[in-house]
């Protein structure tokens, strides 16, 4: 039903509305030297970790207690801030200028929510939970219309996975519509409606834990954070323990993480000359159809490779658990790679388009306002050279790989007891991680298709 409504909304778009020029990136393909260096570095770091790291991680944390009053105030401030931003975006989306680059909503959503919040969550875990505007909205609705007894939850993370797949499809295949402010506002309102219905049926806590994909994605990113913000407590610790302590009980979470990885990889490859050359050989099949087939096959490939590596691991260690169990145990070691992929790919967009929030905030409804004198802010001052971007991308992917290998090694030490067995078990995982890392760098090194920016 939501797709029908969306399609109808798409056909009602005024002819003058335009998504043109939203989300421009000014990057250049990664030079071969960076690609080779990154791949070699990933391999060497993996070898280094296997040889050098033979002890369990230091799980000590520095903890500070927050007073009830401070904690309550912090929650209220964050909630008010995020709810205010959500309302501003929705009002601007419905009533503001309908060109994407003249409206604050597309930047708030595609850059602020989809990119900035997960990266901030990887630094400070828990701030989104404290001020989640979606949850605040749903809780307010449920106070007006309380639900009866919540239904039993039997779906794992499947609804979150489906929601995330829908988001990626909207982003990659329908962005000429979903960057249009009024369409985007409609999508967000529809999503809020699903959150209300799901929370009413299964309870707000259950729904926001298992089915609200933004919360899930930010929570996964937060597993990397050195700072954790909780009710009445803030702590500082290495994130290794949170990633290595235990796995997941749900295979749907394994699929979610691997899909996130594959989706980013697909986005990187979707506008390369290589894909267009392949698509042209299959004419008259349209390019978008080829792209969609690759989009559906990429997660299958990533999942298959991961399953194979776990199967090999099980054989090497003579494990008594199933391959599925090992997949669920080791999956958190791929969170650093997932986030590093994501950051390397979208960092240029975060900077080039994110900076436009400054003049847009000064005039969110395109009425000629000049709040705080920021309308004339020169966004070109935030232009980052492609050469600088290369170093950031290379560092992100290599460091993500290094941390992933480090976590996987600690999981193996916990699972298999002996150092020798743990080392042996790592071979298929290291091969897979080096492949993912090299593949990510290879994608970044591909030339763009003509006409693509």
């Amino acid at each position: 039903m939501r797709y029908l409504l969306f399609a109808l909304a798409a056909f009602c778009i005024p002819a003058t509305a335009s998504a043109h020029a939203f989300g421009l990136q000014y990057t250049l393909p990664l030079p071969v030297s960076f690609y080779v260096t990154g791949g070699v570095a990933a391999f060497l770091i993996s070898c280094f970790l296997l040889i050098f790291v033979q002890d369990s991680p230091n799980s000590r944390a520095w903890v500070a207690t927050l007073t009830p009053g401070f904690s309550r105030t912090l929650r209220r401030v964050l909630t008010a801030l995020f709810v205010g931003i959500l309302l501003l975006g929705l009002v601007a989306g419905v009533f503001g200028h309908q060109a994407a680059f003249n409206n604050i909503l597309p930047v708030l959503f595609w850059i602020g929510l989809v990119l900035l919040v997960p990266y901030l969550s990887a630094v400070v875990d828990g701030f989104w939970d404290m001020g989640n505007p979606f949850r605040a909205f749903v809780a307010w609705i449920l106070r007006l219309a309380p639900s009866s007894e919540a239904g039993a939850w039997r779906f794992g993370y499947l609804p979150a996975l489906i929601g995330y797949i829908v988001l990626i499809i909207l982003e990659l295949f329908l962005n000429q519509y979903t960057t249009l402010p009024i369409v985007l506002a409609g999508v967000i309102l529809l999503y809020l409606a699903t959150l209300v219905v799901g929370s009413k049926q299964y309870g707000i806590d259950t729904w926001f834990w298992f089915a609200e994909f933004f919360s899930l994605f930010f929570r996964l990113a937060g597993k990397m954070a050195p700072v954790q913000l909780r009710e009445r407590r803030v702590s500082l610790s290495l994130p290794t323990e949170r990633l290595a302590a235990k796995g997941t009980e749900y295979i749907t979470l394994v699929i979610f993480i691997l899909f996130a990885l594959a989706a980013t990889a697909y986005d990187g490859i979707s506008e390369t000359a290589l894909l267009y050359d392949v698509a042209n050989t299959m004419a008259p099949i349209p390019v978008w159809a080829i792209q969609f087939v690759i989009f559906t096959l990429m997660p299958v490939l990533f999942f298959g490779l991961y399953a194979l590596s776990m199967r090999a691991l099980r054989s090497i260690v003579g494990g008594t658990q199933s391959t599925r169990a090992y997949m669920m145990r080791f999956i958190y070691s791929f969170v650093p790679i997932m986030l590093a992929y994501h950051f390397a790919h979208y960092f240029p967009l975060l900077v080039s388009t994110g900076i436009t929030i400054v003049p847009l905030f000064a005039d969110p409804f395109a009425l000629g306002w000049n709040l705080f004198g920021l309308s004339s802010f020169d966004t070109a001052t935030a232009l980052i050279g492609a050469d600088t971007v290369w170093y950031v991308q290379l560092a992100s992917i290599v460091l993500g790989h290094a941390f992933a290998a480090y976590v996987a090694h600690h999981i193996a030490l916990r699972e298999f007891g002996s150092v020798r067995k743990a080392l042996a078990s790592q071979l298929p995982l290291i091969v897979l991680m080096v492949f993912y890392t090299a593949f990510g760098l290879w994608i970044l090194a591909q030339p763009f298709a003509p006409g693509v920016v």
Binding site: A21, L28, G451
Partner: protein, 120 residues
Amino acid sequence: MDRKKIAAITLVLVGVGIGYTYLTSSGTDATSQTQVFEIEIEDQTMVAGEEMPQVRKGDTVVFHITADAAEEFHLHGYDRSVDIGPDETATLTLLADTAGRFPAELELAKIELLVLEVLP
């Protein structure tokens, strides 16, 4: 510290050193130039001119633009614009001090004309 660990650390340090040397030696040491590009626009289409002009970081880029109708030539990223029209050839000059790929378009019609590549 045992020999294995010493070997591992040495291996990593050597790898980092080689990688750094490889990365930093990849670029050329060309002197800056002034690159001039002639662009002719008819009926909102670029009928003459390069679709992907390439320059080096540090070059001075000059666009000479002739058009059969009034419009605005806008270079994204650098955020530089010049009004164009049938009366005279418009000129846009800029210092390419940031590497990357930067599209230029007819601002009013939202039609992309070319992509300027500034190589490091």
